[in-house]
Symmetry: C2
Subunit: 245 residues, 2 copies
Amino acid sequence: MSRNTSLTPLPGACAACAVRPFALFRVVPQARVGEIARVRTGVRLVRAGEAIRDGVFTLYAGWAFSWTATPDGRRQVLDFHLPGDLVERTEDGAEVEALTDASFCILSRDRLCDFMARETSLALSYADGLSRDRARLRERLTSLGRRDAVGRVAHLLIELHGRLLRRGGGDAKGAAVPLKQAHIADALGLSVEHANRALAVLRKDGLASLQKGRLDILDREGLEEVAGWAPLPAPQPLAPRMMAG
Amino acid sequence: MSRNTSLTPLPGACAACAVRPFALFRVVPQARVGEIARVRTGVRLVRAGEAIRDGVFTLYAGWAFSWTATPDGRRQVLDFHLPGDLVERTEDGAEVEALTDASFCILSRDRLCDFMARETSLALSYADGLSRDRARLRERLTSLGRRDAVGRVAHLLIELHGRLLRRGGGDAKGAAVPLKQAHIADALGLSVEHANRALAVLRKDGLASLQKGRLDILDREGLEEVAGWAPLPAPQPLAPRMMAG
DNA sequence: CGATACCTTGATCGATCTCAATGTCGGTGG
DNA sequence: CCACCGACATTGAGATCGATCAAGGTATCG
């Protein structure tokens, strides 16, 4: 039994759900929260490192990530999932794995569809989630395509910090971030050793520090600088013009 | 006027639309095609290289692509858009540009929302499109993260070939692909020179050839081999059926 | 013809990978 | 308490892939 207990809370009643304000069902008015229960087919608790095979679920506590294996046996992390995120296991060979001990609500795909059919706002909330996923992937793609290792790591840290802040985790100074260096490397297309060196640079330069599950933002502005974060639209006249025809 | 004429056709009546079977409105039954007209606010023809500033549109003829500028003035191509694709200009600084001469139907975001609110299957079709975008971005992310230059190019060529085949363009032997090497480089995080060398390898090895706007698949199996291609099952849409009635 | 856009090739440089140790820390069994 | 172990982080040195720089080459078009 000692090993079956966990400090990770299980999801409880939807009406009091702490992550609903950030989740798919945020659009459901309090009066109709009962209908959510018919979509939820169960709750589950998994240990860090366990694969999650349920098709559709809302992460309630803990982190998870989606990844895919490359033909040469390495892996690419596709996205990190935070509490409140709707996660779908797709059929394309990508896997979902708990990054920490985690709990979540399993949803019925069919009943979710029915609910969305009755509630347009819910369908739009679903689409909104997909849109955000897409935006995040575009950012990451830009990182892998055009940023160096330090820039990629800085960018990822800023992104995660923002996502956590938005759901009330951490503060401007930092947040709990349980990533190992291997997760960062696999997400950013780097070797673990190089991810380590990039983090060391950020630390040495007093920009950010990720250690023992804690992210500290030491110099937000400097961090954005090395991330190539464009707060203002950059002047474009000199940008290399693409082919015109 | 010689320069204002174009061989690129403008979209005509929705009822006879050639790309509708692959587009957002594929779920609208013939009997209700008239309702689409109220969503369409106009049609437009643009030249290759022109920026497209309309917020939401369905590409009818020609190719386009979305891209974003990096702080150092280079650019990252985020996605290529083919006839039938629904394209949204997002607020995040990404731009959309016509890759060839192109025409499209401009949609009203508000009226599209109304239509989706009335017709769940349309909302699901919209979500399905977002899902596919996401799947494509995940594939590309894996490419940039874990494949070498030749693998990335091979993978992109296979992807484009598949997308074209699905909408009736080209055949197993190849298809019209108007990409310049600079597009490929900017999409895959490579320099133009290296993209060129990767294409040269594929050509020399008799796997594929991209020249003068034409993609030839010379050895599909070998191409998949170097791409590290895992044949994926068709994405399972959440539920896009034809609208009843 | 000259200009422009695009493609191709070669040489050098550099960021990142790979391989190989070493370090640290928490736990665990003796 | 100590010795050991496994998981993770760190560091160094050499090898590589792809970027960059620098020319040419080709085709199209006015």
